[in-house]
Symmetry: C2
Subunit: 549 residues, 2 copies
């Protein structure tokens, strides 16, 4: 029996034990008591300008550190977190959402409390749709256990969890026992054995096997194991769009990012012509599949994720992802020679003249030339993401993007979370003008904390991705003078870039400025775009017009 | 049988019939087909920078025009509307939320579509919690009828409704019949008769009756009826905080805004000492009740709303609000003389010297002096709201504020909706620095549309309301140079104000500038605040510390 911590203290204690050192949020009266506890704890509170900024920051933090947390007030705060929480759910980012709530005691007497929507269950019912586990700590008898349950589910499934903490429960203490739960999943040993034997036989028979790696490699911490598997099997390895950078992109067997017809033709050929495709931790979303232009033959596929394991057309129950991975590493496989892998060529930035007008095609090679081991690339949604797929990430998991859920506004706040999670990283944020208008002023928080992200705003004067699908006046937006953000916030460095030479010089100046954020506005033609977007837009356009399913 | 309009056309047709001339939103691929239809319709699409801006704008629009609409894409768009929708629900603002969605046809084949959270029901399940009626138009057989049902419920209950429109249903046409539904509610005529007789007897017996009017007077369009009732009965009339401006505040029998201990002492005395209190369309939320400092004796109270009708301690079923109101107007009441009503004195702005440092106490009288018949005051949450309660609104329903749900960020976007709803109005927006950081850049939309709101930013360097409850470093925010917003957006006029004289001159210049928005930053001490906030903060502080229920 431990000393009885209060419910609020216990929650902070458990978050700390799970590695959380920062909690993001905006204060509000229903949560101030818990904020006071945060101030007294070794965890630091990071105030953001908006709640969704806190949610994206916690998501970025979780992707680097393994767990993130956002803490806000009831409804007016919590409901602003629904979209970032949904994104974390869709893309498997383990984030704990903590919301204050009205006192449990007063609820019967005073049914019309401010911030209330319909009844006292409303917010919890909403978050039940968006999280893997949710609870309202309304009873001290079960509160401690409920905290354990939600944290365990978040850790186990790498999805967000929701904890509602009524104001009058924060300081309530009750005797409780904490038992660490095992994360071991139920395993059918015979099924695992059969599955591994079949996979090994397929690999041994194959002449051109390829590994396709997805985001679960990162979520379940299997990056080292993946390198070991690649080095052992000498299989060339590609990643999905969402899995970009789960392996260092300078690894000699790295093929590139696979995305069906929207990706590079060489990578596509290698993946689709493989006679054995080992898909590890990939989810076959429309984006990952290049809007269903991917041609992956199940007859040649071994598919393993935390949710499903299959070979060809048959499935295995209770074959956990980690165990399958470990088993494969321990299985003796036919030795094979290291195949020649065409290294993804970083396009030559040097070719573009200094005086040439900057375009998406010349921008990304320049960025690529300046990436270092310390860069974490954080991309928002839009053409910045499609262009960014061609960047060569040096180390692993240093490319963050909401590539499946695709919520605009992720970039700037997620970069704040990423840099706090690992202060040795320097974020390079890629964001369009539309998305910057949504959450870019979260640079206010970077300014307060003295963080130094480099934010590249690809200003193509509107919603360029949608222009490709269906053009109309609704895709136009007001042209901001983005460089004035530094005047508004009273700090930072800004550059407006029209040519290749200006871009190089701005990037060098930004890299040299370690004391504040830097913002580089890149002026692009509204119809300039990356080849990937051109292909993807054409596909989505057909769908928007109802021509395909 | 009408000519078969497509589902999308029918939805626009019905919105137009209900008075909607503008739809607010941000485009996205699942909704582009419907956006194309909006462009072809007589309804204008108004692009906002963020979805929540669209939600608040639609709310402001609805409060002026009787119905508002926001239209966004699936999940990444829709979920950013949860908070404004919840606010509209809590405060009874009739807003239609329209969301695009993936094709119905492709759902079985392609379960992992971008923007998807958990399954295809997730977003609808979320909005079912936040709306009075919701539907997904997945079947042409029922789609037309479902549109009618949701619109009817929104009109009937003055709460938001949710319509999900899958991409491949927009252009589908099916034979349909439209029948206008009656908004007449079930009435128990005998109960109504008894209720009216008892109310009339109570009024006739009373010597100092008072009417307390709430926001439902506005929502159900009973403003003229209220004036008629006041003029007929010669009852002095106060409003709740949320009901502020349901009657012109220059009416000779107007007492002021009632808010328990947080309101003006004179109004409190008049309301609480009334020997018959006729409460019409008021909801007794904590804010309206001055955080439960109100002392309203049920023994002397007649209470009528759209949800409940009671006299003293007994209730009446099926006595609709409108019928009760009409009945009261038709009932013969004992004539009484016009009582002397102390007119709410607009504090003398003239008293403050030009060189005096501006404070909340001197700011509001200055603003008051410049209010005209054309001003609509739109207040955000925080001390700007508490200060604004003392303004004298000339005409009715020209004070908009989220005074119960209290979501920060309402002000600037709602003002855009209000001005589009009635272009003869000029919005005066009152907003704190914290709330401006959340949604103030929605001025981008005002700039694009050439609207001319005057935005007064009360810069008290942080979350002043919360400082009153529990102070801590989490209430501090970065100090922006708000005047630089005009440089960022490339248009508008800005003023930074430190003294009374500067404030007067800035306001005069802003009023003279009809071509763009004007922004006036008022520099206030972090601990300067209105007397109302001082009283309210003290009450909430006790609660946050858990001393009261």
């Amino acid at each position: 029996m431990k000393k009885a911590l209060s419910i609020g203290q216990y929650l902070l204690d458990q978050l700390y034990r799970h590695g959380v050192r920062h909690i993001f949020g905006v204060p509000g009266d229903y949560v101030l008591g818990f904020y006071r506890l945060i101030e007294e704890s070794p965890i630091r509170h990071v105030g953001t300008t908006r709640e969704d900024g806190a949610g994206f920051a916690a998501d970025g933090y979780a992707r680097i550190k393994g767990l993130g947390a956002a803490c806000v007030t009831y409804c007016v705060g919590g409901l602003n977190l629904t979209n970032p929480t949904a994104g974390a759910y869709a893309e498997k980012s383990p984030v704990i959402i903590i919301s204050g709530a009205p006192d449990v005691k007063g609820r019967e007497r005073h049914p019309l409390l401010h911030h209330l929507v319909r009844d006292f269950r409303t917010q919890q019912d909403v978050f039940a749709q968006l999280t893997v586990a949710s609870t309202a700590l309304e009873d001290p008898l079960t509160a401690y256990h409920e905290i354990d349950r939600v944290l365990h589910a978040v850790e186990r499934y790498k999805r967000p969890g929701y904890i509602e903490l009524p104001r009058d429960m924060v300081d309530v203490a009750h005797a409780h026992e904490h038992q660490d739960r095992t994360l071991e999943e139920l395993t059918d040993e015979r099924a695992l054995e059969e599955c591994l034997a079949e996979a090994a036989a397929m690999l041994d028979r194959s002449r051109r096997p390829v590994i396709l790696a997805g985001e679960e490699i990162h979520r379940f911490g299997l990056q080292d194991a993946l390198v070991e598997l690649v080095d052992k099997t000498h299989c060339p390895v590609a990643t999905t769009i969402l899995g970009k950078s789960v392996i260092s992109e300078v690894h000699p067997l790295y093929l590139g990012v696979y995305g069906g017809a929207t990706g590079r033709p060489g990578v596509r050929r290698a993946v689709e012509s493989a006679d054995c495709l080992l898909m590890l931790g990939c989810f076959m979303s429309d984006i990952n599949l290049g809007v269903y232009t991917a041609r992956l033959d199940p007859a040649r596929t071994i598919y393993a994720t935390s949710e499903k394991t299959s070979i060809r057309w048959h499935y295995f129950e209770n074959v956990p992802f980690r165990r399958f991975f470990q088993g494969l590493l321990a299985t003796r496989l036919r030795p094979r020679r290291k195949p020649p892998v065409p290294q993804p060529k970083a396009p030559k930035a040097a070719r573009a003249r200094d005086g040439a007008r900057i375009t998406t095609a010349t921008l990304f090679p320049i960025l690529n030339a300046y990436l270092t081991d310390d860069t974490v690339v954080v991309s928002d949604v839009g053409d910045c993401l499609f262009g960014a797929l061609d960047l060569t990430i040096h180390r692993r998991t240093e490319f963050l993007a909401p590539a499946y859920y695709s919520s605009m506004g992720f970039g700037v706040p997620a970069a704040i979370g990423a840099q706090l999670a690992n202060p040795s990283l320097r974020p390079l944020v890629l964001v369009g003008d539309g998305a910057f208008a949504m959450t870019g002023l979260e640079l206010s928080t970077a300014a307060r904390l003295g963080l130094n992200p480099i934010v590249v705003v690809l200003n193509n004067h509107g919603y360029t991705t949608e222009r490709q699908i269906m053009d109309g006046p609704f895709n136009d937006i007001l042209n901001w003078d983005f460089t004035k953000v530094v005047d508004l916030l009273g700090t930072g460095q800004a550059f407006s870039v029209h040519t290749v030479g200006e871009m190089r010089r701005a990037l060098e100046a930004a890299l040299a400025n370690r004391d504040s954020f830097s913002l580089i506005e890149v002026s692009l033609d509204p119809y300039d775009m990356s080849p990937t977007l051109r292909r993807l837009g054409a596909e989505l356009g057909k769908r928007a017009a109802g021509k395909t399913g």
